[in-house]
Amino acid sequence: MTSSALTLSGVSHSYGRTQALRDVSLSVAPGEVVAVTGPSGCGKSTLLLIAAGVLRAQSGRVTVAGTDLSGADDTARALVRRRSVGLVLQFGQLVPDLPVLDNVALPLLLEGHPPADARAAAAGWLDRVGLAVGPATLPAELSGGQTQLAAAARALVHGPALLLADEPTASLDTRSGRALLELMVSTTVAAGGSVLLVTHDNTVAARADREVRLRDGVIEHEVALS
């Protein structure tokens, strides 16, 4: 069990009276790509946020890269996120006041890398995802699709062992979406990392090795696709 990149066991979570997740268990092996699918409101985004340690599961255990997140405090969870997790959310969630370049460099900057190095790495990733921005371009100047590209670059810049993506291609056209997904998955897997994709897009799910289908916060089925 300790060898898995992500393990959720018996995780439950609710928002007020709405039960988002009910006793969900799931594990992602190193190098594996798992898609969590299901209709809107099935709890898949909650699952992702819990895996990232952004939300703390109300019950159950969550282990990321060998660290038990369930008992960890905010600082410890942030450290795990900074070092081992790349996170892409649906709307990019960039820091509005920071230039896009610095946004992408953020995980490295937070880790204490010299700004020049961090920015060089960020520029390289922006180039790879195909986003051309100046050093002073602010997130507000980007379109929704460009914001997703920047968010993907930010999630990849530190070579995370676990890439977590929530509808990472929702704002992109078919072709750019396909290209971004391929870039995110293949670079992460090539480096021995794992990917958890949360999506309701079947073409995105079809990139995974395994599908976990959620409905009403419960795993409905789980099958290998490879």
Binding site: A78, Q93, D97
Partner: protein, 445 residues
């Protein structure tokens, strides 16, 4: 995270960020300069008394200073007046630190997702206001110097309020720099701490206001006691501070209750205004609080001016005091205006998408402007008039006829002032409203 990295992230970049930093620095400079002035007044040698055997006494003073600074009965009033000036500048600084809450939440979220821990987030939140606070503290020195030139060098001996410069001023400057940095930083940390949205409990806040009002009335009506001037000054300051804090904290309650009333009235403009007010009840409440505290200062200043113009007082000797109260009034109005412009701009930036959607649904520019006017009116008219009326108690409870007249006049004036300020801010805002209604805000991002 290294401090250099934190500064790289926290450094104000946008014009809104720079304006905010400037306001924090400006507020801190004004407040700090005034605190240094208060410290200076304390250094003015007071009256000395020589008691005779029969209980009568003779007072001595150097004759180089205004009676306001020297006489035991007047000095507490002067110090209280200075504090009254400090309050609106502090309220404004607090408001400046807390503006842009929606934007700050987005920054917070983005950083958190990238792996910033609570300590990192705190450091980023503290750094910007703290640096602005240090800048403000450093600027407090020149502000004090300016006041010293006015109240020591330029003033005739009988109107002098401040002593000559001394090493003590340097010491108080240093204290002010440290204090503004600490207070601004603490305000930043407080503003950035995520708090669960709970329904605001009204009673504690209303009780604070009631206690403040009671203390204020008690202080105003209590007999002036020569022997207990230190105690009186302290009591004055405590009463005012409690009152100001109470007023600042009830802002959100006021805004919420007004929003509920507006929402019930049913016209489109009212309902739209109510919606905006309710989502931004916190920031709008702070504006209302700042305006109310500014009104308080205005009311007291008006009453004092009236009292100083009384027939039994020598006009010439009271010129510095008059200048000081008029400056206070001016500063209060300025603080109220800045607070509102700040809030309205912030509000527009935060609600751009909502404004744009409303425009896209077919609301014409005039309606959008009316919505903004309605919102501004909620945080201006009521709070300013209420604050002025409270401050006016200072004059209304006085025996002097001119003080009563001054208070009443100021209260009447505040109604006009509220309207004028609303109109002026709206005028400044007009191009921004047009910009907020631009369809580009509708873009999904």
């Amino acid at each position: 995270m290294k401090t250099s990295t934190a500064w790289l992230i926290a450094r104000p970049r946008t014009s809104a960020g720079r304006t905010r930093a400037l306001l924090v620095a400006g507020g801190a400079a004004t407040g700090g300069g005034l605190l240094m002035t208060a410290a200076g007044v304390l250094r003015v040698p007071g009256q000395t008394f020589e008691y005779a055997a029969d209980g009568s006494y003779t007072s001595f003073s150097t004759g180089e200073y205004s009676a306001l600074a020297v006489q035991a009965g007047l000095r507490p009033g002067l110090l209280t007046g200075i504090l009254l000036l400090v309050l609106p500048s502090l309220a404004l600084t607090w408001q400046a630190v807390t503006t842009g809450s929606a934007r700050r939440a987005a920054v917070h979220e983005g950083l958190r997702l990238s792996g910033a821990g609570p300590a990192d987030l705190r450091r980023v939140a503290v750094l910007e206001p703290a640096v602005a606070g240090v800048a403000g503290g450093l600027l407090a020195g020149p502000v004090y110097l300016l006041l010293w030139l006015l109240l020591h060098v330029a003033a005739p001996p009988s109107a002098r309020l401040l002593p000559g410069l001394s090493p003590w001023d340097a010491a108080s400057w240093l204290v002010v720099v440290v204090l503004t940095a600490l207070v601004a930083g603490a305000a930043g940390a407080y503003a950035a701490t995520p708090r669960a949205r709970r329904p605001v409990r009204a009673w504690p806040r209303l009780l604070t206001v009631a206690a403040g009002v009671a203390a204020f009335i008690a202080v105003v009506t209590s007999p002036r006691d020569l022997d207990q001037r230190a105690l009186e000054t302290t009591l004055n300051c405590v009463a005012l501070t409690v009152l100001a804090l109470g007023l600042l904290s009830t802002g959100a309650l006021w805004v919420n209750s007004r929003a509920t009333r507006l929402a019930r009235s049913g016209t489109a403009v009212d309902v739209l205004a109510a919606g905006g007010l309710r989502t931004l009840a916190g920031p709008a409440g702070r504006t209302a609080g700042t305006t109310c505290v500014a009104g308080l200062t205005l009311g007291v200043a008006g009453s004092l001016t009236g009292a100083l113009l009384g027939p039994d007082l020598s006009l010439a000797e009271n010129v510095p005091a008059l200048v000081l109260t008029c400056t206070a009034a001016l500063l209060a109005v300025l603080a109220a205006m800045t607070a509102m412009a700040l809030a309205a701009t912030d509000d527009l930036v935060t609600t751009s998408r909502a404004v744009a959607s409303t425009a896209a649904l077919g609301a014409e520019p005039a309606v959008l402007e009316q919505v903004q006017r309605r919102r501004l009116a909620v945080v201006t008219t009521g709070p300013l008039v209420a604050g002025t009326a409270l401050g006016g108690l200072y004059g209304l409870l006085d025996q002097s006829l001119t003080a009563v007249a001054g208070a009443l006049l100021t209260i009447g004036l505040s109604v006009l002032l509220a309207r004028a300020i609303t109109a002026a801010v709206l005028r400044v805002l007009r191009p921004r409203i047009a910009r907020a209604a631009a369809p580009s805000w509708l873009r999904v991002a």
